[in-house]
């Protein structure tokens, strides 16, 4: 690991003293305890999903089903930078009237939440021989602790920025981008550690989840998503070198249960994506969810959604936690609507599968066997399968604990996969095939799933599949986006559309956030090069 300390430890200590690591001082950033509190202060959105649960469900109630029709833009920030073929995928963090926003091509900003005006801008000089980072030059947001912001980069580094001025405090390499690694996710700060994941599953890479010291950038632990031959799960790979380049990226932010001290994290596709003949076996822990001890990175349990995936159905989803009554008993669960088209409920203490049911019309499988494995009906030989973007994707879902409804953007698609043995070479894409997508048959939908049954409560259909995420609020609203660029509000009970605003570009790979400011509830959505804030009129 290469560590570039741009300030000395002495300077860091001085910074800590002057910039207010003490949360009582004006201008201080969030402490670890405040991150655990999550939504307690309604003016804040301090971590990727708003709180550690991954629910993206705000307690705010000023904007309601009755008045949301009056929602109007307050300001728009223009980033001036765009990711080709992708979206403005960030989730802004909000702290004391300031927005901390990352953008495509490793730009970042601190913005005035009242006006969208810039306090500072950061831009990373990127090498011109990026690998995965060139094909998806996106970023999904900051992590934040005290006076520091944490951001990953397309050349697979992790940075700490000074929250006050955007200066780089330290810069460490996660992995060698020239092999195919990149980083796009929003770091998750838990227990005084910065948790970061890695992208690059289309290249001969090996996924991992890392924990770093926020003060120094020193690595505390690393969990590889592909076990060694002598570790549990190691026998799900051939005893060849393939496991050293077997994929399993960790490119979407996880969730955290402070009480159990467990981090929940999704893992990506095995590599090659479509050609599986040289990696026979289940290929653990790819296309899975893993529960890791936050202090040690040691795995507590796992569940694999798609054994031996050959359709690029990464499981890089936000794991959504809930405490619910399950068959008459209280249960701590974690829920995932998966790219393979199934909705899952797992016991988050043990990993026991409680429910697995399709939330899409997928023909791949319609049920799971007693061991929780999919009973595959169509491996592609019986007609088309959901495409490589899956039945949903990494765009965040949300969960309303009062209504017991899980809101997810579903994609109904039809694709033909043509595997081909790829050449394996560092820095070279090794997806291993081609995919033909029948776009005429595709559509999208916002769906509400009853988490106790897996049944669909309602849906709102879009003309084309969407890659926009979802946020809900305690007032009974669901905010979502579509591929046509509409930012929309729905009645959480009925699914009725109550409001929409055409943003002008697909809402892609992100979801709304909301916070209070000067007594008004604001709702923010990134789209294209714009970040727009909405509120009710005076």
């Amino acid at each position: 690991m290469r560590v570039t300390k741009l300030v000395t430890m002495t300077a860091l200590a001085a910074l800590a003293g002057t910039a207010g690591l003490n949360a009582q001082e004006p201008g201080a950033g969030p402490t670890s305890a405040q991150l655990v509190e999550g939504f307690t202060d309604s003016s804040r959105w301090p971590t990727f999903s708003g709180d550690y649960s991954g629910r993206r469900h705000s307690p705010l109630t000023q904007i309601t089903p009755e008045n949301v029709g009056s929602l109007t833009p307050q300001w728009t920030f223009q980033s001036g930078t765009m990711a080709r073929g992708r979206g403005f995928e960030t989730t802004p963090l909000v702290w004391d009237g300031v927005l901390y926003v990352t953008g495509p091509n490793n730009y970042a900003w601190a913005l005035d939440a009242r006006t969208g005006r810039k306090f500072w801008e950061y831009r990373r000089e990127l090498p011109d021989d990026l690998t995965y980072g060139r094909s998806a030059p996106v970023n999904r947001g900051f992590g934040m602790l005290e006076n520091q912001l944490f951001m990953v980069t397309l050349d697979a580094h992790l940075l700490a920025l000074d929250r006050t001025n955007g200066n780089v405090l330290w810069d460490i390499e996660l992995a060698d981008y020239r092999i195919g690694y990149a980083a796009t996710m929003a770091p998750l700060v838990v227990n005084g550690k910065v948790i970061a994941g890695i992208s690059g599953g289309e290249y001969p890479t090996k996924g991992f989840i890392d924990a770093y010291d926020p003060e120094t950038g020193e690595r505390d632990w690393r969990f590889y998503t592909i076990p060694s031959p002598d570790e549990p799960g190691g026998d799900t790979w051939p005893f060849t070198g393939v496991r050293e380049r077997g994929g399993g990226g960790t490119w979407m932010t996880g969730s955290f249960d402070p009480e159990l001290n467990l981090i929940y994290w999704g893992t990506g596709n095995p590599n090659p994506d479509y050609y599986g003949d040289d990696r026979l076996g289940d290929n653990l822990y790819t296309a899975s969810i893993v529960a890791l001890n936050a202090d040690t990175g040691i795995i507590e349990w796992h569940y694999q959604f798609t054994p031996h995936d050959v359709n690029d159905w990464d499981s890089n989803h936000v794991p959504v936690q809930a405490d619910i009554m399950w068959e008459g008993s209280p249960r701590k669960v974690v829920m995932v609507a998966n790219r393979n088209g199934f909705f899952y409920v797992l016991d988050r203490v043990t990993g026991e599968l409680l429910l697995g049911k399709p939330f899409t019309d997928t023909t791949w499988a319609r049920e799971l066997d007693d061991d929780g494995r999919p009973i595959v009906l169509n491996d592609g030989s019986q007609g088309c399968l959901p495409d490589y973007w899956g039945g949903t994707n990494f765009m965040p879902p949300s969960f309303d604990p009062v209504r017991g409804l899980f809101f997810v953007s579903a994609r109904e698609t039809c694709a033909t996969f043509i595997p081909q043995k790829p050449e394996i070479e560092p820095g070279r894409n090794s997806s291993g095939g081609t995919v033909w997508v029948d776009r005429d048959q595709a559509y999208g939908a916002l769906r509400a799933i009853d988490v106790r049954t897996g049944e669909r409560r309602w849906q709102f259909r879009y003309p084309t599949p969407t890659m926009a995420g979802v946020m809900s609020t305690a007032s009974g609203l669901v905010f979502a986006g579509d591929n046509e660029g509409n930012f929309m509000a729905f009645d959480a009970e009925s699914g009725d559309n109550l409001w929409h605003y055409p943003t002008g570009w697909s809402i892609w790979g992100t979801a709304a956030i909301t916070h209070m400011l000067d007594g008004k509830q604001h709702v923010l959505i990134p789209s294209g090069t714009n970040l727009t804030s909405f509120a009710l009129p005076d």
Partner: protein, 266 residues
């Protein structure tokens, strides 16, 4: 997460290496493709296209978030123009510039041209003058050719550059079999019961944009409509052998092909 398309193996890379070794330094200046007609260039270009371009333009180059590239030559673009666009990018859009070697860019141009153009030999039979009359009588109400005609359907002035003879014959004989996006028939029914028929240009959950049969661009909010009827039949009527004999079709296609060679329009 994958959205890239697989490469084609070392054979193509070897072909590309060969291309690079035969670089023509002045290619960009002359804006003529130094690898014109070289099948190896097109193969190498395909591999490059799949890794660098397909994400936005689609594996079949028919466009995803980026535009359809299979009708560039039909739209009048030249080899050199396409080369320059790839090299310089499109300012103000998400299409980036490229610092790749000229030979790689020309290889991509070769590939795109190969999938975008059709040999004139396919349209060598028939009588262009008779075809012109046929076009004026049957097609010009909706289609333009050489600057004259209607605007509802696609401009056919360069259509024989991008569509094969078999494809065009199929579209004429049975136009409903495959309707392109942007040319699909729709009827909107207003709250007052008025029915407006046209071609759907865009649609989202809340609105629809059409060009009606009077060639007017019309946008509607769905809340103002009673119904949106997507129709399976093309606005273009089928021209079976009873309406156009095979000989008539030869003449018609010969006329259209003559336009790409600078022949007389309507």
């Amino acid at each position: 997460m994958a959205h890239c398309w697989g490469k084609r193996g070392e054979t193509l890379l070897a072909a590309l290496a060969l291309l690079l070794s035969t670089s023509v330094a002045s290619a960009q200046d002359s804006l003529a493709n130094p690898h014109e007609g070289n099948p190896g260039a097109a193969r190498a270009g395909r591999a490059l296209f799949e890794t660098r371009c397909a994400e936005c333009h689609g594996a079949d180059a028919k466009g995803i978030s980026g535009p359809d590239l299979t009708d560039l030559w039909a739209a009048g673009r030249s080899d050199g123009g396409v080369f320059q666009t790839i090299q310089r990018g499109v300012p103000g859009s998400i299409m980036p510039s490229s610092s790749a070697p000229d030979d790689e860019l020309w290889a991509i141009v070769s590939y795109l041209k190969g999938i975008s153009t059709v040999s004139p030999v396919e349209f060598a039979t028939g009588n262009a003058d008779e075809g012109r009359q046929m076009f004026g009588a049957n097609c010009a109400g909706c289609h333009r050719a050489g600057g004259s005609g209607g605007r509802l359907g696609p401009d056919l002035s360069r259509i024989t550059l991008s569509r094969s003879r078999a494809g065009l014959m199929s579209s004429i004989r049975d136009p409903s079999a495959a309707m392109r996006v942007g040319y699909r028939t729709v009827t909107v029914v207003t709250a007052e019961g008025q029915r407006i028929r046209g071609l759907k240009k865009a649609e989202d959950a809340f609105s629809i944009q059409i060009v009606d049969t009077a060639e007017r661009l019309q946008g509607y909010l769905k809340t103002d409509l009673r119904e949106v009827q997507n129709e399976a039949q093309s606005l273009m009527p089928p021209f079976g052998p009873d309406r156009l004999t095979d000989g008539d079709l030869d003449n018609l296609l010969r006329f259209l092909a003559s336009l790409r060679e600078g022949g007389d329009a309507l």
